[in-house]
């Protein structure tokens, strides 16, 4: 699965399969340029893992994709639909952004569950109030999803009473409830105690196995190599190296990537 | 959604409450603080007293649809000019100072101004006798103005929101004397609560300050209403209603020609 831009253009008939396409994305905070032109294409079923040191811009990149951060320039296409942007990169059409966001389910490092609602309420919130799914239907589906992440018995519990691992699994259930076309994982295990990481990774692994399209920012190299179909290594706001996992991890070409893999104990 | 209901309730209340008054209704402002025997409120919440009876009689004679509206005495003139009420009939003396701001009808009563004090004291209603004494008066009254002008040698001039509070402090011995309308003070010293005290006589007259009797105040230029009130007052004076009401409360007439 070639993700290279030039390659994609050659196999233009495959654009129907494109889940997400980002071209030449720039982002500056004041004078500090965090992203210096990052491009990426993910087709349906792709699992793209984005790795890199802290400050490499990998989280910012993910957050730009659903406009939690406003890009400075570049284009973003979701499911073949170009996101309308003004010259400064800010979204021109608020409605469109809101609609597109419902298809890009985000899982956050800090879970960000709504603490004033139970797990079940957290999961049905977006289906009922944004997608206008009938409540009964949403509840039925939410229960299935909570069962799936192993929290069926905690549906009526408030998030703060649960462990981090449980909260993150609930957050994944919340993401699944919107039937996303792409799931965005922003370092989903970084805030967890080591013994809780496994339970979350298991859930993500299952999702990858069933062919979900995912963008995954992570520090878990082993996990990335195992589940990803494509690896992107970011260095100081640029793609330093990318390719299939076995190549990137097995035979890193860039000295920076080699150095990076050494420091994370690969 | 709770918030929505609160907003709704507030808006509804504002709309209902601020409905335009019907054109014929005349709101007659009296002081919210009781001023017996002219106007006081009973435990059922009804206002009564000499002045309340006169208001009703005048309104009937003038064919006005009156509503008695209690407002704070301290702000009664702004309430009139601000439109909260249309007429002031609250034992307000007709003075030149007030005439700068509002218009008055013809007077409907006129009584002397007196000083009351403890029975055992030798206070007289003169500046020499009151020198160094504590005098209590009601705020925003001709009495306040008079005491300031004529009894400036007094030890202290204490200003109360209501005459009633001044009376109360006279009984408690916290003031030596109080100056007010003769009828109001006569009524007070005749009650068991006021038994300690007596009226020591009227103060020297000063028409400029004490005014030309009590009249109904109206907004400047509201001549139509003023004429109607004058006609009503004249009518109850002529047909004996005024005298009849007075006889229900007092032994002598309180209207000077």
């Amino acid at each position: 699965m070639g993700l290279d831009d030039n390659l994609m253009n050659e196999v233009g008939q495959n654009t129907a399969d494109e889940a997400i396409k980002v071209t030449d994305l720039h982002k500056s905070f004041g004078t500090l340029e965090v992203l210096k032109g990052v491009s990426l294409t993910a087709r349906k079923g792709d699992v793209v893992a984005i790795i890199g040191g802290s400050g490499s811009g990998k989280s910012t990149f993910l957050r730009c994709i659903n406009f939690l951060e406003t890009p400075s320039s570049g284009t973003i296409t979701v499911g073949g639909e170009d996101v309308e942007m003004r010259a400064d990169g800010s979204p021109a059409n608020r409605r469109q952004i809101e609609r597109i966001r419902t298809r890009l389910a985000m899982v956050f490092q800090a879970f960000n569950l709504w603490t004033h609602r139970t797990l079940l309420e957290n999961v049905i919130e977006v289906p009922v109030y944004v997608l206008k799914t009938p409540r009964a239907e949403a509840i039925k589906k939410a229960k299935v999803l909570l069962d799936r992440v192993g929290l069926g018995d905690k549906a009526e519990t408030f998030p703060s009473f649960l462990s981090g691992g449980q909260q993150q699994r609930a957050a994944i259930a919340r993401a699944l409830a919107v039937d996303p076309s792409v799931m965005l994982f922003d370092e989903p295990t970084s805030a967890l105690d080591p013994e809780l990481v496994g339970e979350v990774l298991t859930v993500i692994r299952d999702l990858a196995a069933e062919g979900r399209t995912m963008l995954l920012v992570t520090h878990e190299m082993k996990f990335a190599r195992e589940v990803a179909t494509h690896i992107i290594y970011l260095y100081e706001g640029r793609i330093e190296e990318q390719g299939p996992p076995d190549e990137v991890f097995g035979n890193p070409k860039s000295p920076r990537l080699q150095q990076f893999l050494k420091t994370v104990g690969w | 959604m709770k918030l929505k209901n609160i907003v709704k309730a507030t808006v509804t209340a504002a709309v209902l409450g601020a409905g335009a008054a019907s054109a014929e209704e005349v709101k007659v402002g009296i002081a919210a603080e009781p001023y017996p025997p002219f106007a006081s409120v009973d435990s059922a919440g009804n206002w009564n007293g000499w002045e309340v009876d006169v208001i009703n009689a005048v309104c009937e004679a003038a064919e006005l649809d009156c509503v008695i509206t209690p407002v704070a005495w301290d702000g009664i003139i702004p309430s009139l000019t601000g439109g909260t009420i249309d007429v002031i009939m609250a034992s307000m003396s007709i003075t030149d100072e007030r005439k700068k701001t509002i218009d008055f009808s013809d007077p409907y009563y006129d009584t002397p101004t007196v000083i009351a004090a403890d029975k055992n004291s030798d206070i007289e209603p003169t500046a020499e006798s009151l020198k160094g004494k504590i005098i209590g008066v009601q705020a925003s009254t001709v009495h306040q103005a008079y005491v300031n002008a004529h009894f400036s040698d007094a030890g202290e001039i204490r200003v109360y929101q209501t005459q009633d509070e001044a009376n109360q402090d006279l009984v408690a011995g916290r003031i030596d004397a109080t100056q007010a309308d003769s009828i109001a003070l006569a009524d007070f010293v005749s009650t068991p609560g006021g038994a300690c005290c007596e009226i020591k006589g009227s103060v020297p007259d000063d028409k400029a300050i004490l005014g030309l009797g009590v009249g109904a105040g109206v907004r400047k230029g509201d001549d139509a209403l003023r004429e109607k009130l004058n006609a009503g007052i004249q009518k109850i004076l002529d047909d004996g209603t005024h005298a009849e009401i007075t006889s229900n409360y007092f032994k002598t007439s309180i209207y000077k020609k």
């Binding site: - | 301290d74 705020a139 200003v159």
Partner: protein, 256 residues
């Protein structure tokens, strides 16, 4: 706020508008009464300020035992202190003032010896009642604050003092009280402004402070806005001075 922040374009526009408003007020409203009432106003202002200072100090002194009793006192001290604070905080100050002045005033004629006592010249005045009511009110609110402040002092430090054999009262005076006061200092400025805002209520029991003077002007001159606007300006200035004083004071006391 720096001078530069003050001169942003929108602020300049607002200041110009405000200046126009002030000029309009000066031109179209009546101010000819000011010279006549200025001495009275100064007297009233002074009375407002000393009532504020005296009641805050007395109230704070009273709040210390109230807070202490609630924080660590035995139940027979904690319960009354708690009831006192609840009652003071649960009823309007205006009512408390009237109850003290007119309620007690109505009792005096029934107790003849009071009138004969040496205290009577003071009890005849209105200001003792005003000071008493405002002091109790401040103590009631501040007692609650002090309770929290005493409870939040680090227990380890007290144990340390104990272990050096410090006498109990010294420990209270040297360690506990200073820390508790430091804890409440940030809220004290706000509380003092609230107390300032309570002072005009004493005008209703014949104490002639600045609000009473403005009422006098209103009724003498039959005008509404002028004295009230000036009065509001006075209170704004006093509140500003209080804020500045407390800020200075706070900066002098190192926190943490």
């Amino acid at each position: 706020m720096t001078l530069r922040a003050l001169f942003q374009p929108h602020r300049i526009v607002m200041m110009v508008l405000f200046a126009i408003f002030v000029i309009w007020c000066a031109m179209s409203l009546r101010w000819d009464w000011i010279p006549q009432y200025a001495p009275l106003a100064l007297e009233g202002l002074w009375r407002t300020i000393w009532i504020l200072i005296v009641t805050c100090i007395l109230g704070f002194l009273l709040a210390i035992p109230l807070g202490l009793a609630q924080a660590i006192g035995p139940w027979y001290l904690a319960a009354p202190a708690r009831v006192f604070c609840t009652v003071i905080r649960g009823t309007p100050l205006l009512l408390q003032i009237w109850l003290l002045y007119y309620g007690l005033g109505s009792l005096f004629p029934q107790i003849p010896w009071i009138r004969g006592s040496d205290l009577w010249p003071y009890l005849r005045q209105a200001w003792p009642y005003a000071v008493l009511a405002l002091t109790l009110s401040y103590a009631g609110y501040e007692g609650e604050v002090m309770r929290g402040a005493f409870s939040s002092v680090n227990k380890g430090q007290l144990e340390a003092a104990n272990s050096f054999g410090m006498p109990r009262f010294t420990m209270f005076r040297r360690i506990w009280l200073p820390q508790a006061i430091r804890n409440v200092l940030p809220t004290l400025g706000g509380e003092t402004i609230l107390q300032l805002k309570a002072t005009p209520l004493v005008a209703t029991i014949t104490v002639v402070e600045i609000y009473a003077v403005s009422s006098r002007v209103r009724s003498d001159m039959l005008i509404v806005y002028e004295p009230l606007l000036l009065l509001a300006l006075f209170y704004l200035i006093i509140a500003g001075v209080i804020t500045l004083l407390f800020r200075k004071f706070e900066n002098r006391v190192p926190t943490r």
